[in-house]
Symmetry: C2
Subunit: 156 residues, 2 copies
DNA sequence: TCGGATAGTTCGATGGTCGAAATAGTAACC
DNA sequence: GGTTACTATTTCGACCATCGAACTATCCGA
């Protein structure tokens, strides 16, 4: 009933659905997938007090520098993000989000976290701890596998 | 330690990492994200005995018919997929996967499921059942939220 | 102050995606 | 049985996200 195969299938299904949700949400707000991903990264870093630079954003998204410039142009002209030259090193640009982006984030997470909270009501604290452990292990495994394959571009 | 916020964060992280893995894997095999997604859908349907048609594939991927044609052109010329006219309705095309695609699927899932199996060794059957219940509930919640928002394109 | 290195942008080319029109086939109707 | 309306898929022309290479601005070491 809940063997590993089932879990893998459920996991994949969850990823597909979440992915789908992100895509649709972005569409409704006139943002591409890439823009959504970038915005999340910029917001996270900004909130953490260590604003991202374009090049670090490019690295995190596995995107070329020029493509990243395009993404930022779009996000800036749509009013979600601001570019500010660093005061200490004027080559660098610090990326900060506007209220519009924060608002977007709330609109994104509010319905999701609401639905999740409701869906997870029936789980005890112990069970939630187990689930957290499971998710963490799965994340680590995913990252590890990615690292392994990175070295062997098995071309068929 | 494992409150809902933590779970949401872990879930998002898992989705991001999985997404990333799919993207990289596709790159190594010369396939775009779209091609990967299409291939998975075609394989699933083929295995189920009800091969997909281009238009149904387009619907499932939220892609235009013309874009779907391009995807299939790529998958066909790369040898992953075959187009076959339906014998009953010759307007229709039935999509079937070649051995190459099955091989690709194995190469994709083998390392992943291996890593997951190892990562999940420490979980009891009871815990796995709990986790399966959690994943199912989360999938349903994601689908439900998507359905809700679908009606309200909250433009900012 | 000069030369090399770094951060970011601009430019031309490639190619994935789209909407509209074209093509091929089926079904309905007289 | 032939004409018309409809469906499934492909082709065509345009758009734009992405890429690599060249360019500008800035910093650091000698």
């Amino acid at each position: 009933m809940a063997d590993n195969t089932t879990l893998v299938r459920l996991l994949r299904q969850l990823v597909v659905e979440s992915d789908h949700f992100v895509g649709l949400f972005g569409e409704w707000h006139g943002l591409h997938r890439t823009d959504m991903n970038a915005l999340v990264l910029i917001m996270d870093a900004d909130r953490r007090g260590t604003p991202l630079s374009p090049s670090r954003l490019a690295g995190a998204m596995h995107l070329s520098a020029s493509a990243t410039t395009s993404v930022l142009d779009r996000l800036e002209s749509s009013g979600h993000v601001q570019r500010a030259r660093s005061t200490t090193d004027r080559r660098k640009v610090e990326l900060r989000v506007n209220d519009k982006a924060l608002d977007l984030g709330r609109r994104f997470f509010a319905p999701l976290s609401g639905a999740y909270t409701a869906a997870w009501e029936s789980f005890s604290d112990e069970e939630k701890a187990t689930i957290a452990r499971f998710l963490t292990a799965s994340i680590d495994a995913t990252v590890a596998v990615r690292g392994e394959i990175a070295g062997s571009p098995t071309d068929g």
